[in-house]
Amino acid sequence: MHRYFPLLFLILLPSALGIGLSPARIEIPYQPGANLTYDFMVLNNLKTPLLVELYTTGELSKQIVIHGPLKFELDPGMVRKLSFSIFMPEGLEPGLHKSGIGAIEGIPETEGGGTQLAARAAVVMQVWVRVPYPGKYIEISLHAEDVELGEETPLRITIKNLGSEDILAEDEINIFENEEKLATISAGKAQVKARETAELKASWKADHAGTYRAEALVKYDGSEATASATFRVGTLDLEIVNLSRERVSPGEIAKFKLKLKSLWNQPIQAIHADLEIVKDNKTLKSASSAPFDLGVWEEKEIPIFLETAGLEEGNYDARVKVYFENRSKERFFENRLEIVKYKPPEISLSILAIVLLIALVFIFILAFLFGKPRKRKKHVKKKKRKRKA
């Protein structure tokens, strides 16, 4: 038996939250028994006041003390500077000890009864304590850049010596396309002192465009460390990133914003895009953009104006076709045009304020120019009387 009940599902989240912390991460070298203090900031990027609650989290959360209130209100666009201290106990194991300071939106107080639904978002500033390993220990990272077909791909290995002794590192980098190994190259050797960082560089040239993976293997004094990175070798191509959603009244002209991204290391010229409004797989309306260019790897928004006369109220999909250098690309977007009977005009508050200010200045000038006419006439009359006598 069906049981009908009026359910109101409201899964609420923090209302357009813009709660932030800076810096995002603090890395602290281990000093047993030390009590160190650091500054941080809490940000409110919203246009409304924000209730903030601070808390500590992680392995050393009980060793962290926040100096200042743990609950406070932050005005729109404001930043509050605070500090915290952390005590580092003796005998921590080697490695990375992760803790953090979190900021979460506080639940605003309400008056009266009724059902209150509250939602929050939180950000956590990472507070990491790094304890060096006894002897020899490294961590590595690999960075590879995207290039154009025909160029050398720069590869960079960063070696962090997290141990207490110096090491001699020797590397090897393997290049893969999918699971096929294409090449093995070397970036040489490096002497890295304890608690210091070094870099090794190499390069590789692809013979065709595509996405590749580089895997680095660094050997040092009988041990190994690995890292990998993916990179692209570009070709003449572009990506249709997004098409804006527009909401207009019947018969209005909709201004769509088409976002495109070049995937090439050279400018692409004389591009144009066609926009089709589609419903039930039928094209109902179409429009084209003016010709435009895309710079190297450039991402750009292109306006396309579409007349909506003849379209009924409702939601419509869109298909975009982009033509460039004797090629074309196509992408389908759902729910990109909404025709509504009445759309309230959008007036920016800043424009309204400027108009009011100009009007006030104009009124003031008029009052200044045309004010106080009566005193002059009285003065003239008195002079005439004196002459008669």
Binding site: F9, L13, A16, G18, G20, P23, V124
Partner: protein, 190 residues
């Protein structure tokens, strides 16, 4: 006695002269020699602090009226999925958990009656979509440790937003009434 028209004219002249002097001063300053004496140069360094900030452009999901055993989700755009946006200066890993939604049998805790998954709202929002997103329906943690919803969410404006879809199933013995849940997204630097 100076007339009002004359005063107004003087005000206009004063404004024009002020603007002209500002423009002239700025132009002159740009032509100043690099060094006044001895050609000494200096270096100014600035370090921009990292910032971790998230916002939620779509922060409510309203499924409206449902019957017992009904199933609905946000993949059809009605209602729209949540949207998480990275407004900071570093890539972030985002986790999620929620408060209890149902009171029916088997649905009070983490269960298949309340699930989520994630996708990019803007192309390329994560480093690797295969590993950084939750592409299959996953049970929402209820009043328990948060789980990954998006990893390495980018901060570049053109690709800094992800959708979090919700799927709910009304338990067969769910009592009538308004239902609600609070979802919390927590982000840390990736």
């Amino acid at each position: 006695m100076v007339s009002n028209n004359t005063l107004a004219g003087l005000i206009v002249v004063a404004i024009v002269v002020s603007l002209a002097s500002v423009i002239t001063t700025v132009n002159l300053a740009s032509r100043l020699p690099m060094a006044l004496t001895g050609g000494v140069t200096g270096v100014t360094q600035v370090t921009v602090a990292t910032e971790i900030t998230i916002s939620l452009p779509i922060n409510t999901v309203d499924f409206g009226t449902m019957y017992v055993n009904d199933v609905d989700d946000t993949t059809d755009g009605s209602p729209h999925a949540f949207v998480i946006q990275n407004d900071g200066s570093v890539k972030v890993n985002v986790t999620v958990n929620a408060t209890q939604l149902w009171s029916g049998t088997g649905a009070t805790g983490t269960s298949s009656y309340y699930q989520f998954k994630s996708e990019c709202n803007e192309t390329g929002c994560v480093t690797d979509e295969a590993t950084d997103l939750v592409s299959s329906w996953t049970n929402m943690p209820i009043d328990s440790a948060a789980v990954k919803v998006v990893d390495r969410l980018d901060f570049v404006d053109s690709k800094d937003a992800a959708n979090v879809h919700i799927k709910i199933t009304v338990p067969s013995d769910e009592p009538a009434g308004a239902k609600s849940s609070t979802v919390t997204f927590t982000s840390v630097a990736a």
